[in-house]
Symmetry: C2
């Protein structure tokens, strides 16, 4: 097991990696202004596991003997820290629960299968012994897809897929790779890159999530505009069930009834365990460049991105931060230490001055990043086409400096949540998608809903947003919100704020989630999103596939 | 009902429209050479319905009263000709059965609902009275998705969706249109075109198939490389069930568990009846041009198309005919009558001479058509990029003349089947998809399988193919085969030939169908294609959704 990487038991990422604001001079004043908190320096480098009060494992010797017989004694654990690592994902609610010792049902055992046959044997045993089986990839879920039901009385087994982490084959003619489900993002890219290929799938969780997890939760990455959402990327797969393995051969497209591929993608462990996937891979692009643009207003920035898609300019991503997020982004810039950095900072001040002179309301400005990939000629042409549209919407092209910065720090954001929790502050995210015609409404509704929720809990709260993915008919809006929580009722407050934002999505014609999955967190909105009859159809599928409710019970619909 | 268009009861398309070879001087010699048939001039302009021996309707007065109560007496019919129009699709097997009076179970009544509420009432009645309900769009299925099971003892109701044929709304900002399911292709495009939009979905069946039918059978169109398969195009939908309506709001992408949208697409009536769809629409392109290229060999042509996708050149389609189909295509050219036509024919002869001089084997040549759409600048640039790749694979650019010809006659092919049947000849199609690396194997395997089947039935048969759709990881191969059938055992021979080709697909890693659906025709290969466990999962879904098996029983899996 030693070679399976795990995140901190109490927070995001690996021990020793943190968010730090000491080198970001504008950050503390920004937070003070936004939510009224005077930040203290980080004190928590780690949390001693001795402080954790872990409910005892209820795994019987019989069950452990069976599991050891399948995967070997060295790959079955009842160790308390490993059980806690596997007890939940990394949603803010789960992090709060973990830090407060509010453990409900913790897995009674963790098993690390080393082959598909072992996974089959585990699922067969699960049915035979009426165990609950929860597949575990990188443990990065923020929708509570990994947490067992609090009132679960059966023995719970977390099936950690981390040993199944190899790129098995690359079909270079077809641009397809066959890869085991348990591979973490960086390990997979390393194996692909070594042969000149990339999957192009980079969710915020990239470093701590797995290919199988992405498929099981309908993930999207930062570059999905070009490479596709995971449902586009996955062409074939193997999913183990107690009665056999669903084998979907890799096909560019097929007309074989309801799509089994699309039933399994997003199924969050409720139909079985995905062991292997055949995915589209791409040659590493010759060039990769991120250019920043500043727009006078949110509306103009959205219009520009919609026009990029209308003009069918092939972009790797086109991201727009709203005015709040633009301000936040500027506040998290590191202090300029190099001569070049200082010059850049001076240049930025000058730019702001120019914009004010142009009559811009600098509080309304929205920064946008567009990523271009391809041959030098492709990149040059597309940059020109984008600049033309952006400028027609009043944008100023800031160039590649801020873009490169974005590319460097893109995976850092989740660490911020742990830092804020130490300051008794919730920082969390909620994301959605809607047709272009509804985006402004959805955006405003989420802001209004958050504001009302903050008033209800009597707090000064913050909300900001960016548009992260665009499609022919619409886009994804990604919101980040923050407020100081009350130690006496952290869960109640969280429920009020998060629910208000989620409710505003479905009420304004948007979806409960564009790419974070459902889990337990988003389940209350399933009927409103896909209709009661849609939920009934899905329940029928789950019940038929898992009559004993042994596979990750309670997720998506219950 | 009068305003619902129907196809010939005995053949493809509308009465009075036929395939004619009289103006195609090379056609008869070609057919003689290929399958040994001396063509006779067409004698059959129509078939007298008086020759049909139609099994009597078994619909009880009770059931008819219920249906009349729902949709009005004028929208419920037990008329024999209408029942025969609705008894089957237009597969060659069904056409043969129809012409030979081999009717098994014919719908006992046809109902034309005028609203979604009526559809709900019909389905509720179906469950209450244990009726079999078969939704009917344009009746163009060639996978036997519309034919009732031969041993069905319950009353069968064909639900013709033809009155639900309106474009309800266009969201011009989002490029989305909400359209009723029963609209025929041309009627829909007319409504969309009038406002400057197009769906861009043009299956061979376009004139005689409906939007709802396309969704229910996972259709692709000739321009799907650009506009997407129907599963990409459909963003939202409504599907009626007896217990309520599944309402999926229009979303560019969503992460709400297994995809209900992708479960309903391809469901061929087994989950309920689709009444309304929200689909991606596009502005009519400024330019639309089809250019023809001649390649020395099939392999070089395939490589070129793969390289177009690798280079991510946005094409509307890139089609390649193999050597056999290229020869066929040349044989179906009309005799040149105009001066321009005669010059073109002379030019063609000269071109052939040039190619022979270059050392080409003119029997191996493959014609390819590529369609470009966009601004004049887009079209010019993409043509240049395609020509560069094509030429590197040895191609000669033939220009837009043959391309325009292709665009004009693209919907004519299905009529050929009726003409051939009159000549005791089966002409039919079988199509598949596979990764790029397997295409040559799949192509050869289908040829070999057909040849062996022809030997088995003791006939001289023909097979030809084109690559019709391309994707990042693979493509669709579309085969046409022909042989003279024996009047004593037409079904047995057909079964041998068609099955051999289908079996060769799945044996060589390709799918049983890329876009014709499953129905009954392709059902024998479901377990081999999606694995026994995949079929079991699908059966579980169908059984849960329709415990009484009232909705198009026996289709896809049984």
């Amino acid at each position: 097991m030693a070679h399976v990487k795990h995140q901190k038991w109490w927070g995001w990422g690996e021990e020793g990696v943190f968010f730090d604001y000491q080198n970001k001079p504008a950050f503390a004043p920004f937070v003070k202004n936004a939510i009224g908190v005077s930040l203290r320096p980080r004190e928590r480098d780690t949390v001693d596991f001795a402080t954790a009060r872990v409910p005892a494992s209820t795994a019987s010797e019989d069950v452990l003997t069976v599991l050891r017989g399948i995967s070997g004694a060295e790959h079955v654990s009842v160790d308390d820290e490993l059980r806690i690592v596997h007890w939940a994902g990394k949603s803010v609610l789960e992090l709060m629960q973990t830090l407060r010792n509010d453990f409900a049902r913790v897995p009674d055992a963790v098993v690390y299968p080393g082959s598909e046959d072992e996974v089959t044997a585990i699922l067969t045993a699960a049915v035979e012994h009426d165990l609950v089986v929860i597949p575990f990839g990188g443990g990065s879920s923020i929708s509570r897809s990994l947490q067992a039901e609090a009132d679960e009385t059966r023995c719970i087994v977390s099936v950690d897929m981390g040993r199944l982490n190899k790129v098995l084959e690359i079909d270079e003619t077809s641009g397809l790779a066959t890869i085991q489900a348990g591979v973490l993002g960086p390990d997979m890219e390393e194996q692909l890159n070594a042969r000149g290929w990339t999957l192009g799938h980079f969710p915020d969780s990239f470093a701590h999530s797995t290919l199988g997890g992405w498929a099981a939760t309908r993930s999207s990455g930062m570059q999905s505009d070009k490479y596709g959402d995971i449902a586009d990327i996955v062409r074939g797969l193997r999913m183990v069930r107690p009665s056999g393995t669903v084998v979907l051969r890799s096909l560019p497209s097929t007309s074989t009834g309801p799509s089994l591929r699309e039933m399994i993608i997003g199924s969050e462990g409720r139909l079985g365990i995905i062991t292997e996937l055949t995915v589209q891979v791409h040659r590493l692009p010759q060039e990769h460049e991120v250019i920043a643009y500043m727009f006078p207003t949110w509306q103009q920035a959205l219009t520009a991105v919609r026009q990029y898609t209308e003009a069918e300019i092939p972009l790797t991503f086109a991201r727009v931060s709203d005015a709040h997020e633009t301000a936040f982004s500027l506040a998290t810039q590191k202090a300029a230490t190099s001569v070049k950095g200082k010059l850049a900072a001076k240049g930025q001040d000058a730019l702001w001055a120019v914009m004010r002179k142009r009559g811009w309301d600098t509080d309304a400005m929205c920064i946008s990043y567009v990523c271009f990939e391809g041959t030098p000629k492709d990149v040059a042409e597309r940059k020109k086409a984008v600049a033309k549209i952006a400028k027609a919407q009043g944008a100023v092209v800031l160039g590649s400096g801020p873009g490169a910065l974005y590319d460097q720090k893109k995976f850092d954001t989740p660490h911020l949540r742990d830092f804020l929790l130490e300051q008794n502050t919730v920082g969390d995210v909620s994301e959605t998608a809607a047709p272009w015609s509804r985006l402004t409404t959805v955006h405003k509704a989420a802001y209004d809903a958050a504001q009302r929720a903050y008033e209800r809990i009597g707090k000064t709260g913050w909300i900001m947003s960016h548009m992260s993915h665009s499609y022919h008919s619409g886009a994804c809006l990604y919101f980040t919100f923050a407020y100081v929580f009350d130690d006496e009722k952290p869960y109640e407050e969280y429920e009020i704020v998060k629910s208000a934002i989620q409710q505003s999505f479905v009420d304004s014609g948007a979806t409960l989630s564009h790419h974070h999955g459902v889990g337990v967190e988003h389940q209350p909105w399933m009927e409103q999103d896909v209709s009661p009859e849609g939920v009934a159809l899905m329940k029928g599928l789950f019940h038929a596939a898992d009559p004993g409710t042994n596979f990750n019970p309670g997720k998506i619909v219950s």
